[in-house]
Symmetry: C2
Subunit: 124 residues, 2 copies
Amino acid sequence: MKISELEQRTGVSRHTLRYYEKQGLLLEVSRRGNNYRDYPEQAVKRVNMVRQLKDLGFSLREIFDVLDALRKDTMDCAQGAVLMAQKRAVVDAKIAELEALRVLLTEEQQQLERSAKEQDLQHQ
Amino acid sequence: MKISELEQRTGVSRHTLRYYEKQGLLLEVSRRGNNYRDYPEQAVKRVNMVRQLKDLGFSLREIFDVLDALRKDTMDCAQGAVLMAQKRAVVDAKIAELEALRVLLTEEQQQLERSAKEQDLQHQ
DNA sequence: CTAAGGTATAGAGTGAACTCGAAGGTCAAG
DNA sequence: CTTGACCTTCGAGTTCACTCTATACCTTAG
């Protein structure tokens, strides 16, 4: 697949895709005779995973570490598992934090809605 | 409270505190006769909330919008409630995304652990 | 009174993650 | 064989969120 197709299928710009490749986040990129990049089908998933991790607050460097561990699974399984567990712990912590914030926002929201109703009553 | 105390109690540097103030994230800052900033007790909570939201992926601009809505609660309650609901929706989505990722990471981790054991057996 | 250390402002510098544009090679249609 | 839509690299520019520096004023202990 050419870069434009990957761009279209992931929503990530060609500039950013080349940037990710430079940062070591996209390794399975071959070249055609004309020097055009040729991505395997798998690249779509890979890019999506990078995006997902990024949206969750991981830096590109951290994402690189995760992918690196996954790639080296034949060499370094135990270590990879530890890294994965660490990342999962971070994810768990974030979930807990978000849930706490959710409660907080819900309370704020309810209070605002109550105030809105009171105002409404006064207007009538 | 002076800036150094707020710095110590929040773990946020004085530089960053002044920066947040400039960005409109810290409004209840009065001045002493000597022009030193004087923060109310409440500022600790405010700073912590800013940090929490930031860690969850909100930009300072988005955080400003949330705080702005909360501050204007006497004027614009209904709109504030809507904004809060929107933010909560974002939080909910993030939680869902994280939970999906958690499953994915758990699977990867288990697979790596299994591979590690197999390697171990071969070594014995 | 002095020295150390806290505070002020303004503005420059940093690093991450893009984002864009120029200059040029490739390719398929007409 | 040209036109237009691709693709390449390289390097400059941008935005965000700090982070630091310079210069100068304020405060407190000795």
